[in-house]
């Protein structure tokens, strides 16, 4: 059978359409997601036309109430999917996400479930400065009760989003601005990808790179370059940060003895810090060299192109990091 090649954006839309068709409790809410704008990144194009404005709701600019209303609907029988137009703006809804959505199941002794998905785009690279470019996925890792998914390919985007929608837990579903137009093979039929299952995006034997979202692409490019230098790189994409598939990462480290972790968020207290800590705690004996992290320096995101380029990790920096630890221990 011919598997169609579609964009990450279209893959997300397919997941939304399939789930909305088969479950009338699934509905969308967010700013400008309806027929007048189709979502800031056009993920929801055509959905208001198919499902009506009751189920594809344009909201006022009220992030806190968007998530709060989604929580209220989720604990009373609906399965809301809230879109926050830019990941940076989840900050406005942080109480509803971290203190309400995340804690309701636990705090009320398991009486209520919060089947809520929060879709939001992260990432820099398009020169829209400090309020529209951050990668804040680590914030949500720090809050027990939330799941965090972050697909890097169209295939993963569809499969993970369907799992998120069917989940009875609140899921922060991280998308990336530079991935929306990326194409990949996506089956038209129903499939899901379980949370907590990493994927080896490229096999290799000398160095393990663990990378997320857009950094998976850059790591794969770095791996191509390194192969020419005779270094065989394995690229592991966790696909969900919570739950995190430690086993796949540790198995890869056992094989290669070298670990580079790549993420676009800030280095301090970030995704790379958590993964490095896990490996230091549970698999340090398998390492032949110190762990190397390639992350964004601890600064806000600057506007000017040469400044932004300087701080967002790129393939050259990944190549350097791999070469450095290969020198240290082999």
């Amino acid at each position: 059978m011919n598997i169609p090649k579609i964009t990450y954006r279209d893959a997300l839309r397919q997941a939304l359409i399939e789930e909305m068709r088969q479950d009338p409790t699934v509905f969308l809410l967010g700013e400008d997601i309806g027929r007048y704008w189709n979502g800031a990144f056009k993920v929801t194009a055509g959905l208001a036309e198919e499902f009506g404005e009751d189920r594809v709701r344009d909201t006022p600019i009220s992030e806190s109430a968007i998530i709060g209303a989604a929580v209220g609907a989720a604990i009373t029988g609906m399965r809301p999917i809230a879109e926050i137009m830019f990941g940076d703006l989840t900050a406005l809804a942080m109480d509803q996400i971290a203190n309400q959505a995340a804690k309701i199941h636990y705090m009320f002794g398991g009486q209520a479930k919060v089947p809520l998905v929060i879709r939001t785009p992260f990432g820099g690279g398009v020169n829209i400065a400090a309020h529209h470019s951050q990668s804040l996925e680590a914030w949500f890792m720090h809050v027990p009760g939330l799941h965090v998914a972050l697909p890097s390919t169209p295939y993963d985007a569809k499969g993970l989003l369907k799992t998120a929608i069917r989940s009875d837990n609140p899921v922060v579903f991280c998308e990336h601005k530079l991935l929306y137009s990326l194409e990949g093979l996506v089956p038209e039929e129903d499939y899901t990808i379980p949370f907590g299952v990493a994927e080896v995006k490229r096999e290799g034997s000398d160095v393990t790179i663990v990378a997320t979202m857009f950094m998976v692409n850059k790591s794969l490019q770095a791996a191509e370059i390194l192969e020419k230098d005779g270094i065989s790189v394995e690229v592991v994409d966790p696909r969900t940060l919570v739950p995190l598939d430690k086993t796949t990462i540790i198995d890869s480290v056992k094989k290669t003895g070298h670990l580079v972790i790549v993420s676009e968020d800030c280095k301090t207290g970030g995704v790379t810090a958590e993964i490095a800590a896990i490996i230091a705690e549970e698999a340090i004996d398998y390492l032949d060299a110190p762990i190397k992290r390639v992350a964004k320096p601890d600064t806000p995101i600057p506007f000017s192109p040469p400044l932004e380029k300087e701080i967002i990790p790129d393939k050259e920096r990944i190549v350097d990091a791999v070469k450095q630890i290969r020198k240290r221990g082999s």
Binding site: W37, D298, T299, F303, S304, P305, L307
Partner: protein, 319 residues
């Protein structure tokens, strides 16, 4: 209204400056010289100019993602504003802010925030500081119709009201927040009606008439400087173009667009000045040339300026 001839000329000139500046930004964007995105103020000039004509240098303003006009009206330099928009080292924020985050603290322009509604409590805080320091400054806060649906609006305006802070809340109601018409996200007809909920005066003016905006602000400034607290001023206006550079704004019906374009604030002021005998046509042409030259110089300055060095990205994180 006892507006001097000079003041009227200055207001006309400032509006024109903003319009022609924005047209230049639009043109440069089309040539791929402006990075990122832009939200133009064209069409809304009478609001910033009508408000800022009442402000002194030491008064404050707080701005938004659609902020170029606020900067210029408060007296920011065109060259450093343009340089910031182009991401140059010589820009107001050394290229770190860009179009959505221009600030000039030397003239009380406390910065543009791109988080819709975030400026409202910040203006309240500037008002609090004025009160604590015991000066007679005021803080004017610009925000959109869309922003008035944020929780920050409720919290910020209420707090300014209870503490009688010298703040002017200026709602630039251009009918839309991106593609969302006001009527789809609020049941009141005027944002101004919400003032009742906070026990403060609310006024609604034709935001495309600079003299009306001026007059309403004059009153609000008097109240604020007198210690009588904040005023909510809603200015009905319209953006000439889409929300941002690539938005064709097809969600706006043609009749509505035409109606508003006919109410152009600059053309109206021009007519007023000629009818009033303040100006001859030839004097107006002279002003236009002068403004155009200043913009050309600003563009040249910005284009000739260097980009920041990459390592500057790491500077300024802490004071």
């Amino acid at each position: 209204m006892d507006l001097s001839k000079e003041k009227k000329i200055a207001m006309y000139q400032d509006m024109l400056k903003i319009r022609l500046f924005e047209e230049k930004v639009f043109e440069l964007y089309g040539q791929n010289i402006v990075p990122g995105t832009i939200h133009l103020y064209a069409g809304e000039e009478a609001v910033a100019v009508g408000v800022c004509t009442n402000l002194r240098k030491e008064d404050y303003i707080v701005s938004t993602h659609r902020g170029h006009g606020h900067c210029i009206a408060k007296g920011a330099r065109l060259d450093k504003t343009m340089a910031e928009i182009l991401g140059k080292k010589t820009g107001y924020c050394k290229g770190k802010g860009g179009s959505m985050h221009i600030a000039d603290f030397s003239i009380g322009m406390l910065g543009a925030t791109a988080v819709v509604g975030a400026g409202i409590p910040i203006a309240t805080g500037a008002g609090l500081s004025i009160k604590l320091r015991g000066t007679d400054q005021v803080a004017a806060c610009f925000f959109g119709d869309g922003a008035s649906n944020q929780g920050t609006f409720h919290e910020g305006v209420n707090m300014a009201a209870i503490w009688k802070l010298p703040v002017l809340f200026i709602c630039e109601n251009n009918l839309y927040a991106m593609g969302t018409h006001q009527r789809r996200v609020m049941l009141v007809k005027h944002v101004m009606e919400r003032a009742v909920a906070y026990g403060i005066p609310g006024v609604c003016v034709d935001g495309n008439n600079v003299l009306e905006v001026y007059e309403a602000t004059l009153e609000a400034c008097k109240r604020a400087r007198n210690g009588d607290g904040p005023t909510l001023i809603e200015c009905k206006t319209y953006r000439r173009k889409g929300h941002s550079r690539w938005d064709p704004a097809t969600y706006r019906p043609k009749g509505e667009v035409d109606e508003w374009l006919n109410k152009d604030p600059i053309q109206r002021m021009k007519k007023h000045l000629i009818v009033d005998g303040v100006f001859s046509e030839s004097k107006l042409i002279e002003i236009e040339e002068e403004v155009m030259n200043s913009i050309e110089e600003a563009v040249k300055f910005a284009l000739d300026s260097p980009f920041p060095q990459p390592e500057e990205a790491l500077e300024d994180v802490y004071a």
